[in-house]
């Protein structure tokens, strides 16, 4: 049988490149163990963009590409906050997004956790001084973890999530 291109491609990169495929794989499997062990089942994530530049979203979508394919480790981005265990927030929390973000948070069933992604969402945001920005997110919600980077790379996000579950 002919191997479809994209599968072949993954196998090829297994052996080459500075971010070796194996590392992601091991990290992912560890994550899976943690997720299944601590939560009994898979982990559902709801992402809310509170005023990002879109690069953070790009990295989060990259987590679903065949290189990383987060879903096979039991982590899934879901459409409704009502299905979610964890809220990812990107962006600097603008005035206009403040109410929708709080709304989404309130609709997540307990127990729930907030993780902020990217410098914008943290203390050191370059937009913080603006009249339209209400961040950092931690001023409004209790945040269990902040993932640094502008934007944080997919492998950083994965390894940070591991450390979160180890806590």
């Amino acid at each position: 049988m002919k191997i479809p291109f994209f599968i072949k491609n993954i196998f090829e990169t297994k052996t080459e490149g500075e971010e070796s495929w194996g590392k992601v794989e091991t990290a992912g499997n560890e994550l899976k163990k943690d997720v299944y062990g601590k939560l009994g089942r898979s982990l559902f994530i709801r992402l809310v963009d509170s005023g990002s530049c879109n690069a953070c979203e790009n990295e989060l979508s990259a987590l679903s590409n065949p290189y990383y394919d987060l879903e096979r480790f039991g982590l899934k981005f879901v459409a409704s906050p009502k299905h979610a265990d964890i809220l990812f927030i990107t962006g600097c929390m603008t005035r206009n997004m403040l109410n929708p973000v709080l709304n989404a948070y309130n609709n997540i069933p307990e127990p729930k956790f907030v993780v902020t992604i990217g410098d914008c969402a943290g203390e050191s945001s370059i937009f913080r001084e603006s009249y339209a920005v209400m961040g950092p997110v931690s001023k409004r919600l209790s945040v269990v973890m902040h993932i640094d980077g502008c934007p944080p790379e997919p492998k950083t996000i994965i390894s940070s999530l591991i450390s979160l579950f180890r806590k």
Binding site: P4, F5, F6, N9, I10, G17, E18, E19, L47, V48, D49, S50, G51, S52, C53, N54, A55, C56, E57, N58, E59, L60, S61, A62, S64, N65, P66, Y67, F77, A79, S80, G91, C92, T94, R95, N96, M97, L98, N99, P100, A104, I126, F127, E129, S130, Y131, A132, V133, M134, C150, P151, E153
Partner: protein, 527 residues
Amino acid sequence: MDESAEKGFEEEIIGKNELRDKTNGIIYGGGYLLGVVALDNLLMSKDRFEIKYFFVSGRRIKSLAFLPGDSFPSLSDICPSAKLYEREIADMFGIMPLNHPDLKPLMLFPENWDAAVHPLRKDYGGVKCIGPDFKRYGEYKYKKVYGDGIFEVPVGPIHAGIIESGHFRFSLRGEPILQLEIRHFWKHRGVEKLCEGKSLSEALKIVSRISGDNSVNITLAYLTAAERILGINVPQKVKHIRVIFAELERLWNNVRDIGFIFMDIGFNLWAQNLFVVLEDILRMNKSVTSHRYMFDIFRIGGISDTAYIDGAKAGDIAGLLEKVKDELKKAEKIVLNSPSVTDRIELAGKINKKTAQELSLCGVCARASGLKRDTRIEIPYLLYGENIKIEPAAFEEGDVFARTRMRIKDAFESIKIITSLCRSLPGLLPEAETAADKEAADAASNTIAAGIFRAGGREAIGNAETSRGNAFFYISTDGEGKIYRLKYIDPSFRNWPAIQYGILGDIIADFPLVNKSMNLSYAGNDL
């Protein structure tokens, strides 16, 4: 050099009552609106407010400038693309467009902001407008469609997937969409005000984060304006490298966007295939510039040290692009030859040429609707128009199919440009930077640091073609060379309204597809 070349535009001072006639003249002469910029001259010695309308007319940029006092005539009937700019001016400066058909607040939501607040006025203190009690100031009124069996479907601001925030409100009767109202600016970060008072190089960091996936090209538009103000002429080699990065960004954007189109028609295999290619390009970006999205790779007058391309890096880039090209060729074959694909994308989201003209669309959306608009051709910058000649091209249909083919064409064009530049690059730089170059660049950055350049009280514009269309900057400086007013206009700001027309008569299930085929930015639009 004459003054208009230094500023990048020709200005005509008019009275505000002449505005409509003059605009008519320009539009009938084949020109179109590029953007509108308002200024508050409170700290400078002129009449308080000033408004400039920028048009592309022939191969020049022409501005009509006037002093509005506290109101000015709306152009919305003769030049519909002016509508949004006028609403923005009403919000930000409190100068009222007269006879405007839809004067709702735009960026400052009536729920969240006191109507008396106008942040871009110089006497606005910058106080954050929020009470501890979340006081609601007013209510936003959506356009309503009345009649039997009509219902509304509100979507957003938070969407189902990993997407930016924005609100869409559909009115339907049965399946077909009768009206779509887009309500954006949820992500309004106040970028323009934030840049005021910063030096031209300090603002660079903010500017490159306006819209992350178009960071390179937006920054290039900014640098064009800033370098005009500073009177810096960048060396040929720097231009060379800047164009490589600009095209690289256009390429990965187009690869991703074509992937999105496959995804939204349910052809996941090919979507994922292109996402693999995308990830490969991003990883290469990282190894070449040390950032996957190429943030902060430029400085005024040059390239930052981490992103300097040498012969080896140029070889890497050209090598990967060979592979990308093969994959895109296969994707093109599928787009053109599979009935299951063309069935979905033909006729969906059709924007006809007249609409495109009236809304002054730009970029892929304009080119897919029969308008040959490309900043690289119309307002050449860097190497465009010099070493690089781009053939004006357009498709007539205006549907998703046309936009997909346009993107594929753009991607091939980028690959061609990058490959040829990478080949000629080693000839330009025998070793890394030559001593003379380094000296010139150092001298330039020293003058910037010392603040003793000629930037006091100057103004200039800069344009660049992003993967979405024209990015426009207007910058003016105060006596000390700090930014007095910075206005950025994102291609998405011009193109978003077009979806409201393109989607009419289609079904909601097609909306994600139409939306993705244009793939507009929320962040750049909302600022």
